[in-house]
Amino acid sequence: MNPTDVHALVGAYALDAVDDLERAAFERHIAECAACRTEVDELRETAARLADGTWSVPPPRLRGEVMAAIGRTRQLPPPDAVPGSGRSGRGRWRRYSVAAAAAVVLAAGTGATVYAIQDQRVRDQSAIASAAELRQQRTQAILSAADLVVRTEPMDGGGRVTVASSAAQGASVVSIRADRAPGAGRAFQMWTIRGTGNPVSPGVLDPGEQSAVRVVDGVPGNDVFAVSLEPAGGSAQPTTVVAEVPLT
Protein backbone atom coordinates (compact mmCIF):
# COMPACT_ATOMS: atom_id res chain seq x y z
CA MET A 1 0.00 0.00 0.00
CA ASN A 2 1.70 3.21 -1.07
CA PRO A 3 1.07 6.55 0.67
CA THR A 4 -1.50 7.60 -1.92
CA ASP A 5 -3.53 4.48 -1.22
CA VAL A 6 -3.20 5.08 2.49
CA HIS A 7 -4.40 8.63 2.18
CA ALA A 8 -7.49 7.45 0.31
CA LEU A 9 -8.59 6.04 3.68
CA VAL A 10 -8.95 9.52 5.17
CA GLY A 11 -12.77 9.45 5.05
CA ALA A 12 -13.02 5.91 6.39
CA TYR A 13 -10.49 6.81 9.09
CA ALA A 14 -12.49 9.85 10.18
CA LEU A 15 -15.58 7.63 10.43
CA ASP A 16 -13.71 4.90 12.40
CA ALA A 17 -14.49 2.55 9.53
CA VAL A 18 -10.97 1.12 9.24
CA ASP A 19 -9.50 -1.88 11.03
CA ASP A 20 -6.62 -1.67 13.50
CA LEU A 21 -3.94 -2.38 10.91
CA GLU A 22 -5.22 0.29 8.58
CA ARG A 23 -5.57 2.72 11.45
CA ALA A 24 -1.92 2.19 12.40
CA ALA A 25 -0.80 2.62 8.78
CA PHE A 26 -2.90 5.74 8.41
CA GLU A 27 -1.65 7.33 11.61
CA ARG A 28 1.89 6.65 10.51
CA HIS A 29 1.08 8.36 7.24
CA ILE A 30 -0.31 11.53 8.83
CA ALA A 31 2.61 11.69 11.25
CA GLU A 32 4.78 12.12 8.16
CA CYS A 33 2.46 14.48 6.30
CA ALA A 34 1.64 17.72 8.10
CA ALA A 35 -0.51 18.93 5.21
CA CYS A 36 -2.68 15.80 5.42
CA ARG A 37 -3.32 16.41 9.09
CA THR A 38 -5.52 19.42 8.44
CA GLU A 39 -7.79 17.35 6.23
CA VAL A 40 -7.95 14.62 8.86
CA ASP A 41 -8.72 17.11 11.64
CA GLU A 42 -11.45 18.76 9.60
CA LEU A 43 -13.07 15.50 8.56
CA ARG A 44 -13.03 14.23 12.15
CA GLU A 45 -14.57 17.49 13.28
CA THR A 46 -17.20 17.06 10.57
CA ALA A 47 -17.89 13.43 11.51
CA ALA A 48 -18.37 14.48 15.13
CA ARG A 49 -21.15 16.82 14.02
CA LEU A 50 -23.12 13.72 13.06
CA ALA A 51 -23.51 13.12 16.79
CA ASP A 52 -25.50 16.36 17.07
CA GLY A 53 -28.80 14.62 16.50
CA THR A 54 -28.27 11.55 18.65
CA TRP A 55 -29.68 12.94 21.87
CA SER A 56 -30.92 10.34 24.33
CA VAL A 57 -31.25 10.80 28.07
CA PRO A 58 -29.14 8.31 30.01
CA PRO A 59 -30.58 6.65 33.14
CA PRO A 60 -30.29 9.19 36.01
CA ARG A 61 -28.18 6.86 38.16
CA LEU A 62 -25.40 6.97 35.55
CA ARG A 63 -24.33 10.44 36.69
CA GLY A 64 -23.62 9.24 40.22
CA GLU A 65 -21.78 6.19 38.92
CA VAL A 66 -19.61 8.26 36.60
CA MET A 67 -18.85 10.83 39.30
CA ALA A 68 -17.87 8.01 41.67
CA ALA A 69 -15.68 6.43 38.97
CA ILE A 70 -13.74 9.63 38.25
CA GLY A 71 -13.13 9.99 41.98
CA ARG A 72 -11.18 6.74 41.74
CA THR A 73 -9.43 7.53 38.47
CA ARG A 74 -6.00 9.08 38.27
CA GLN A 75 -5.59 11.69 35.53
CA LEU A 76 -2.84 11.78 32.94
CA PRO A 77 -0.43 14.71 33.29
CA PRO A 78 -0.36 17.38 30.58
CA PRO A 79 1.77 16.27 27.64
CA ASP A 80 4.16 19.21 28.04
CA ALA A 81 5.22 18.29 31.54
CA VAL A 82 8.73 18.11 30.09
CA PRO A 83 10.30 21.56 30.72
CA GLY A 84 10.60 23.89 27.78
CA SER A 85 8.63 21.83 25.30
CA GLY A 86 5.56 24.09 25.20
CA ARG A 87 2.78 23.12 22.85
CA SER A 88 4.98 20.81 20.80
CA GLY A 89 4.59 18.28 23.61
CA ARG A 90 1.30 17.15 22.23
CA GLY A 91 2.75 16.65 18.77
CA ARG A 92 5.63 14.68 20.14
CA TRP A 93 3.33 12.55 22.25
CA ARG A 94 1.28 11.81 19.19
CA ARG A 95 4.32 10.83 17.19
CA TYR A 96 5.41 8.48 19.93
CA SER A 97 2.03 6.85 20.09
CA VAL A 98 1.78 6.58 16.33
CA ALA A 99 5.25 5.12 16.15
CA ALA A 100 4.38 2.72 18.93
CA ALA A 101 1.20 1.62 17.19
CA ALA A 102 3.05 1.08 13.95
CA ALA A 103 5.81 -0.78 15.74
CA VAL A 104 3.39 -3.17 17.38
CA VAL A 105 1.90 -4.09 14.06
CA LEU A 106 4.85 -3.89 11.76
CA ALA A 107 8.04 -4.18 13.81
CA ALA A 108 10.94 -2.14 12.48
CA GLY A 109 11.72 -1.57 8.85
CA THR A 110 11.94 0.94 6.05
CA GLY A 111 8.79 2.63 4.83
CA ALA A 112 8.64 0.41 1.76
CA THR A 113 8.93 -2.79 3.77
CA VAL A 114 6.35 -1.55 6.17
CA TYR A 115 3.84 -0.91 3.46
CA ALA A 116 4.60 -4.23 1.79
CA ILE A 117 3.91 -6.05 5.03
CA GLN A 118 0.81 -3.97 5.49
CA ASP A 119 -0.36 -4.99 2.05
CA GLN A 120 0.16 -8.67 2.78
CA ARG A 121 -1.73 -8.34 6.02
CA VAL A 122 -4.61 -6.73 4.19
CA ARG A 123 -4.62 -9.60 1.67
CA ASP A 124 -4.64 -12.07 4.53
CA GLN A 125 -7.57 -10.22 5.95
CA SER A 126 -9.40 -10.48 2.65
CA ALA A 127 -8.90 -14.24 2.76
CA ILE A 128 -10.30 -14.24 6.26
CA ALA A 129 -13.23 -12.17 5.02
CA SER A 130 -14.01 -14.71 2.28
CA ALA A 131 -13.93 -17.50 4.82
CA ALA A 132 -16.28 -15.44 6.96
CA GLU A 133 -18.60 -15.07 4.00
CA LEU A 134 -18.74 -18.83 3.48
CA ARG A 135 -19.41 -19.29 7.17
CA GLN A 136 -22.13 -16.72 6.94
CA GLN A 137 -23.80 -18.53 4.05
CA ARG A 138 -23.71 -21.76 6.06
CA THR A 139 -25.11 -19.91 9.06
CA GLN A 140 -27.95 -18.57 6.98
CA ALA A 141 -28.69 -22.01 5.52
CA ILE A 142 -28.99 -23.47 9.00
CA LEU A 143 -31.02 -20.62 10.44
CA SER A 144 -33.46 -20.69 7.55
CA ALA A 145 -33.90 -24.50 7.64
CA ALA A 146 -37.50 -25.69 7.94
CA ASP A 147 -36.61 -28.05 10.80
CA LEU A 148 -34.76 -25.43 12.87
CA VAL A 149 -35.05 -25.90 16.63
CA VAL A 150 -33.68 -23.19 18.93
CA ARG A 151 -32.82 -23.92 22.56
CA THR A 152 -31.36 -21.50 25.08
CA GLU A 153 -29.94 -22.10 28.54
CA PRO A 154 -28.34 -19.71 31.04
CA MET A 155 -24.65 -19.90 31.86
CA ASP A 156 -23.35 -20.16 35.41
CA GLY A 157 -21.92 -16.77 36.25
CA GLY A 158 -24.26 -14.98 33.86
CA GLY A 159 -24.92 -15.12 30.15
CA ARG A 160 -26.54 -17.67 27.90
CA VAL A 161 -25.87 -20.35 25.34
CA THR A 162 -28.17 -20.66 22.35
CA VAL A 163 -28.10 -23.71 20.09
CA ALA A 164 -30.02 -23.43 16.84
CA SER A 165 -30.04 -26.87 15.24
CA SER A 166 -31.13 -28.26 11.92
CA ALA A 167 -31.06 -32.03 11.62
CA ALA A 168 -31.48 -31.68 7.87
CA GLN A 169 -28.30 -29.56 7.73
CA GLY A 170 -26.58 -31.84 10.25
CA ALA A 171 -25.30 -28.80 12.10
CA SER A 172 -26.08 -26.09 14.61
CA VAL A 173 -25.35 -22.43 14.97
CA VAL A 174 -24.13 -21.99 18.51
CA SER A 175 -24.06 -18.63 20.23
CA ILE A 176 -22.13 -18.30 23.48
CA ARG A 177 -22.64 -15.02 25.32
CA ALA A 178 -21.04 -14.83 28.72
CA ASP A 179 -21.58 -11.78 30.88
CA ARG A 180 -17.94 -11.98 31.90
CA ALA A 181 -14.87 -13.00 29.95
CA PRO A 182 -13.00 -16.07 31.19
CA GLY A 183 -9.94 -15.02 33.18
CA ALA A 184 -6.44 -14.76 31.75
CA GLY A 185 -5.24 -18.06 30.32
CA ARG A 186 -8.74 -19.56 30.35
CA ALA A 187 -11.19 -20.32 27.58
CA PHE A 188 -14.67 -21.65 26.97
CA GLN A 189 -14.79 -25.11 25.40
CA MET A 190 -17.74 -26.69 23.61
CA TRP A 191 -18.87 -30.30 24.13
CA THR A 192 -21.45 -32.70 22.77
CA ILE A 193 -22.65 -35.62 24.84
CA ARG A 194 -24.47 -38.67 23.57
CA GLY A 195 -25.99 -41.24 25.95
CA THR A 196 -23.48 -42.37 28.56
CA GLY A 197 -20.48 -41.89 26.30
CA ASN A 198 -17.63 -39.49 27.01
CA PRO A 199 -18.16 -35.88 25.99
CA VAL A 200 -16.66 -34.99 22.61
CA SER A 201 -15.35 -31.49 21.99
CA PRO A 202 -16.09 -29.80 18.67
CA GLY A 203 -13.90 -26.83 19.55
CA VAL A 204 -12.47 -24.30 21.97
CA LEU A 205 -12.97 -20.56 21.93
CA ASP A 206 -9.95 -18.28 21.94
CA PRO A 207 -8.42 -17.58 25.34
CA GLY A 208 -10.36 -14.81 27.04
CA GLU A 209 -13.05 -14.82 24.33
CA GLN A 210 -16.30 -13.82 25.99
CA SER A 211 -18.81 -14.32 23.23
CA ALA A 212 -18.80 -16.16 19.95
CA VAL A 213 -21.04 -17.58 17.28
CA ARG A 214 -19.89 -20.81 15.68
CA VAL A 215 -21.27 -23.24 13.17
CA VAL A 216 -20.78 -26.67 14.72
CA ASP A 217 -21.25 -29.78 12.62
CA GLY A 218 -22.76 -32.96 14.02
CA VAL A 219 -24.58 -31.44 16.98
CA PRO A 220 -28.07 -32.73 16.08
CA GLY A 221 -28.40 -36.34 17.19
CA ASN A 222 -26.58 -35.72 20.47
CA ASP A 223 -28.37 -35.50 23.80
CA VAL A 224 -26.64 -32.51 25.33
CA PHE A 225 -24.57 -29.55 24.16
CA ALA A 226 -22.36 -28.19 26.95
CA VAL A 227 -19.88 -25.39 27.53
CA SER A 228 -17.10 -25.62 30.08
CA LEU A 229 -14.41 -23.35 31.44
CA GLU A 230 -10.91 -24.68 30.74
CA PRO A 231 -7.28 -23.67 30.58
CA ALA A 232 -6.48 -21.91 27.27
CA GLY A 233 -6.42 -24.43 24.43
CA GLY A 234 -8.97 -26.71 26.06
CA SER A 235 -8.90 -30.03 27.90
CA ALA A 236 -9.49 -33.67 26.97
CA GLN A 237 -12.51 -33.82 29.28
CA PRO A 238 -14.62 -30.99 30.69
CA THR A 239 -13.36 -29.49 33.97
CA THR A 240 -15.99 -26.95 35.03
CA VAL A 241 -19.25 -27.16 33.09
CA VAL A 242 -20.91 -23.70 32.95
CA ALA A 243 -23.88 -24.46 30.68
CA GLU A 244 -25.82 -27.50 29.49
CA VAL A 245 -28.35 -27.33 26.69
CA PRO A 246 -30.51 -30.47 26.37
CA LEU A 247 -31.03 -31.29 22.71
CA THR A 248 -33.82 -33.86 22.95
Partner: protein, 204 residues
Protein backbone atom coordinates in the same frame (compact mmCIF):
# COMPACT_ATOMS: atom_id res chain seq x y z
CA UNK B 1 -34.75 34.21 29.18
CA UNK B 2 -34.61 37.23 26.87
CA UNK B 3 -34.46 39.64 29.80
CA UNK B 4 -31.70 37.70 31.43
CA UNK B 5 -29.76 37.73 28.18
CA UNK B 6 -30.29 41.46 27.77
CA UNK B 7 -29.17 42.14 31.34
CA UNK B 8 -26.03 40.15 30.78
CA UNK B 9 -25.28 42.01 27.61
CA UNK B 10 -25.35 45.32 29.43
CA UNK B 11 -23.04 44.17 32.17
CA UNK B 12 -19.36 44.62 31.43
CA UNK B 13 -17.62 41.32 31.91
CA UNK B 14 -14.89 42.62 34.18
CA UNK B 15 -17.47 43.91 36.64
CA UNK B 16 -19.34 40.68 37.21
CA UNK B 17 -19.12 39.87 40.88
CA UNK B 18 -19.98 36.21 40.48
CA UNK B 19 -18.78 34.89 37.14
CA UNK B 20 -21.23 32.59 35.43
CA UNK B 21 -19.91 29.03 35.32
CA UNK B 22 -18.32 28.37 31.95
CA UNK B 23 -20.54 26.45 29.62
CA UNK B 24 -17.99 26.19 26.85
CA UNK B 25 -16.83 22.58 26.68
CA UNK B 26 -13.25 23.68 26.01
CA UNK B 27 -13.21 25.87 29.15
CA UNK B 28 -14.65 23.00 31.17
CA UNK B 29 -11.99 20.63 29.85
CA UNK B 30 -9.25 22.98 30.98
CA UNK B 31 -10.72 22.92 34.48
CA UNK B 32 -11.14 19.17 34.36
CA UNK B 33 -7.50 18.77 33.35
CA UNK B 34 -6.65 20.43 36.67
CA UNK B 35 -8.79 17.94 38.55
CA UNK B 36 -11.92 20.11 38.95
CA UNK B 37 -14.70 17.59 39.62
CA UNK B 38 -17.41 20.27 39.63
CA UNK B 39 -16.36 21.23 36.09
CA UNK B 40 -16.60 17.57 35.15
CA UNK B 41 -20.13 17.48 36.57
CA UNK B 42 -21.10 20.38 34.34
CA UNK B 43 -19.47 18.73 31.36
CA UNK B 44 -21.45 15.59 32.14
CA UNK B 45 -24.71 17.53 32.06
CA UNK B 46 -23.75 19.14 28.77
CA UNK B 47 -22.53 16.15 26.80
CA UNK B 48 -23.79 12.95 28.48
CA UNK B 49 -27.11 12.82 26.57
CA UNK B 50 -25.37 13.14 23.23
CA UNK B 51 -22.60 10.73 24.17
CA UNK B 52 -25.11 8.19 25.44
CA UNK B 53 -27.38 8.77 22.45
CA UNK B 54 -24.54 8.28 19.99
CA UNK B 55 -23.26 5.12 21.66
CA UNK B 56 -26.75 3.74 21.99
CA UNK B 57 -27.42 4.32 18.35
CA UNK B 58 -24.26 2.47 17.36
CA UNK B 59 -24.62 -0.39 19.87
CA UNK B 60 -28.43 -0.66 20.03
CA UNK B 61 -28.33 -2.32 23.42
CA UNK B 62 -29.15 0.20 26.20
CA UNK B 63 -27.29 -1.70 28.94
CA UNK B 64 -24.12 -1.94 26.91
CA UNK B 65 -24.49 1.67 25.85
CA UNK B 66 -24.61 2.69 29.48
CA UNK B 67 -21.44 0.77 30.24
CA UNK B 68 -19.55 2.24 27.28
CA UNK B 69 -20.84 5.75 28.08
CA UNK B 70 -19.33 5.44 31.52
CA UNK B 71 -16.02 4.23 30.07
CA UNK B 72 -15.95 7.15 27.64
CA UNK B 73 -16.69 9.80 30.26
CA UNK B 74 -14.07 8.39 32.61
CA UNK B 75 -11.64 8.45 29.67
CA UNK B 76 -12.47 12.13 29.13
CA UNK B 77 -11.65 12.79 32.77
CA UNK B 78 -8.45 10.76 32.61
CA UNK B 79 -7.09 12.29 29.42
CA UNK B 80 -8.49 15.85 29.63
CA UNK B 81 -4.95 17.29 29.78
CA UNK B 82 -4.25 15.76 26.37
CA UNK B 83 -6.97 17.72 24.60
CA UNK B 84 -5.28 19.94 22.00
CA UNK B 85 -7.48 22.85 20.86
CA UNK B 86 -5.33 23.36 17.77
CA UNK B 87 -6.58 20.04 16.37
CA UNK B 88 -10.31 20.59 16.75
CA UNK B 89 -13.15 21.54 19.08
CA UNK B 90 -13.59 20.11 22.56
CA UNK B 91 -16.99 18.62 21.69
CA UNK B 92 -15.55 16.88 18.66
CA UNK B 93 -12.76 15.51 20.83
CA UNK B 94 -15.31 14.02 23.24
CA UNK B 95 -17.45 12.53 20.46
CA UNK B 96 -14.39 11.14 18.72
CA UNK B 97 -13.52 9.20 21.88
CA UNK B 98 -17.15 8.11 22.23
CA UNK B 99 -17.48 6.95 18.65
CA UNK B 100 -14.19 5.07 18.65
CA UNK B 101 -15.13 3.23 21.84
CA UNK B 102 -18.58 2.34 20.54
CA UNK B 103 -17.15 1.01 17.30
CA UNK B 104 -14.45 -0.94 19.16
CA UNK B 105 -17.20 -2.60 21.17
CA UNK B 106 -19.18 -3.48 18.06
CA UNK B 107 -16.11 -5.00 16.41
CA UNK B 108 -15.12 -6.94 19.51
CA UNK B 109 -18.52 -8.51 19.68
CA UNK B 110 -19.38 -9.30 16.20
CA UNK B 111 -18.23 -11.80 13.71
CA UNK B 112 -20.15 -11.74 10.45
CA UNK B 113 -22.12 -14.80 11.53
CA UNK B 114 -22.89 -13.18 14.85
CA UNK B 115 -24.85 -10.45 13.15
CA UNK B 116 -26.72 -12.93 11.05
CA UNK B 117 -27.83 -14.76 14.15
CA UNK B 118 -29.03 -11.58 15.77
CA UNK B 119 -30.92 -10.59 12.64
CA UNK B 120 -32.26 -14.14 12.33
CA UNK B 121 -33.40 -14.19 15.92
CA UNK B 122 -34.91 -10.74 16.08
CA UNK B 123 -35.77 -10.14 12.41
CA UNK B 124 -36.03 -6.42 12.88
CA UNK B 125 -33.20 -4.35 11.55
CA UNK B 126 -33.01 -3.87 7.85
CA UNK B 127 -29.49 -3.01 6.79
CA UNK B 128 -29.84 0.71 6.46
CA UNK B 129 -33.39 1.94 6.04
CA UNK B 130 -33.79 2.51 9.71
CA UNK B 131 -30.67 4.59 10.00
CA UNK B 132 -31.50 6.63 6.97
CA UNK B 133 -34.93 7.26 8.49
CA UNK B 134 -33.41 8.28 11.75
CA UNK B 135 -30.96 10.56 10.12
CA UNK B 136 -33.46 12.24 7.88
CA UNK B 137 -36.28 12.24 10.42
CA UNK B 138 -34.83 13.02 13.80
CA UNK B 139 -31.74 15.11 13.46
CA UNK B 140 -32.17 17.97 15.82
CA UNK B 141 -29.72 20.15 14.12
CA UNK B 142 -31.42 21.45 11.03
CA UNK B 143 -28.10 22.37 9.54
CA UNK B 144 -26.70 18.86 9.66
CA UNK B 145 -29.91 17.50 8.22
CA UNK B 146 -29.92 20.01 5.42
CA UNK B 147 -26.30 19.26 4.65
CA UNK B 148 -26.93 15.51 4.66
CA UNK B 149 -29.62 16.14 2.05
CA UNK B 150 -26.97 17.68 -0.16
CA UNK B 151 -25.01 14.44 -0.34
CA UNK B 152 -25.56 11.93 -3.09
CA UNK B 153 -27.47 8.82 -2.08
CA UNK B 154 -24.29 6.73 -2.06
CA UNK B 155 -22.32 9.28 -0.08
CA UNK B 156 -25.07 9.53 2.51
CA UNK B 157 -25.44 5.77 2.87
CA UNK B 158 -21.69 5.22 3.11
CA UNK B 159 -21.32 7.91 5.79
CA UNK B 160 -24.35 6.89 7.85
CA UNK B 161 -23.68 3.13 7.74
CA UNK B 162 -20.17 3.73 9.01
CA UNK B 163 -20.93 6.39 11.57
CA UNK B 164 -24.25 5.29 13.04
CA UNK B 165 -23.89 1.52 12.71
CA UNK B 166 -20.17 1.15 13.21
CA UNK B 167 -19.65 -0.73 9.94
CA UNK B 168 -16.16 -0.88 8.48
CA UNK B 169 -15.80 0.38 4.93
CA UNK B 170 -15.48 -3.26 3.79
CA UNK B 171 -18.83 -4.07 5.38
CA UNK B 172 -20.32 -0.95 3.84
CA UNK B 173 -19.04 -2.07 0.44
CA UNK B 174 -20.75 -5.45 0.96
CA UNK B 175 -24.00 -3.92 2.16
CA UNK B 176 -24.17 -1.46 -0.71
CA UNK B 177 -22.76 -3.94 -3.24
CA UNK B 178 -20.26 -1.30 -4.27
CA UNK B 179 -16.52 -1.72 -4.98
CA UNK B 180 -14.17 -0.94 -2.09
CA UNK B 181 -12.34 1.97 -3.76
CA UNK B 182 -15.68 3.61 -4.54
CA UNK B 183 -16.80 3.32 -0.93
CA UNK B 184 -13.52 4.82 0.34
CA UNK B 185 -13.90 7.68 -2.11
CA UNK B 186 -17.57 8.30 -1.25
CA UNK B 187 -16.77 8.40 2.47
CA UNK B 188 -14.07 10.95 1.81
CA UNK B 189 -15.91 13.19 -0.65
CA UNK B 190 -19.13 12.82 1.34
CA UNK B 191 -17.42 14.14 4.44
CA UNK B 192 -15.73 16.89 2.43
CA UNK B 193 -19.07 18.04 1.09
CA UNK B 194 -20.52 17.90 4.58
CA UNK B 195 -17.54 19.86 5.91
CA UNK B 196 -17.98 22.60 3.32
CA UNK B 197 -21.73 22.75 3.86
CA UNK B 198 -21.33 22.97 7.66
CA UNK B 199 -18.48 25.43 7.35
CA UNK B 200 -16.24 23.31 9.57
CA UNK B 201 -12.76 24.72 9.96
CA UNK B 202 -9.92 23.69 12.16
CA UNK B 203 -7.40 26.47 12.52
CA UNK B 204 -4.18 25.57 14.23
Amino acid sequence: MAEYGAARDRRPDHLSAVPAPPTDVGDLLRGIARGDEAAFGRLYDLVAPRVYGLIRRVLRDPAQAEEVTQEVLVEVWRTAARFDPSRGSATAWVFTIAHRRAVDRVRAEQAAADRTLRVGAASVDTPYDEVVDEVSGRLERQQVRRCMDDLTELQRQAVTLAYYQGHSYREVADLLETPLPTVKTRMRDGLIRLRDCLGVEVTA
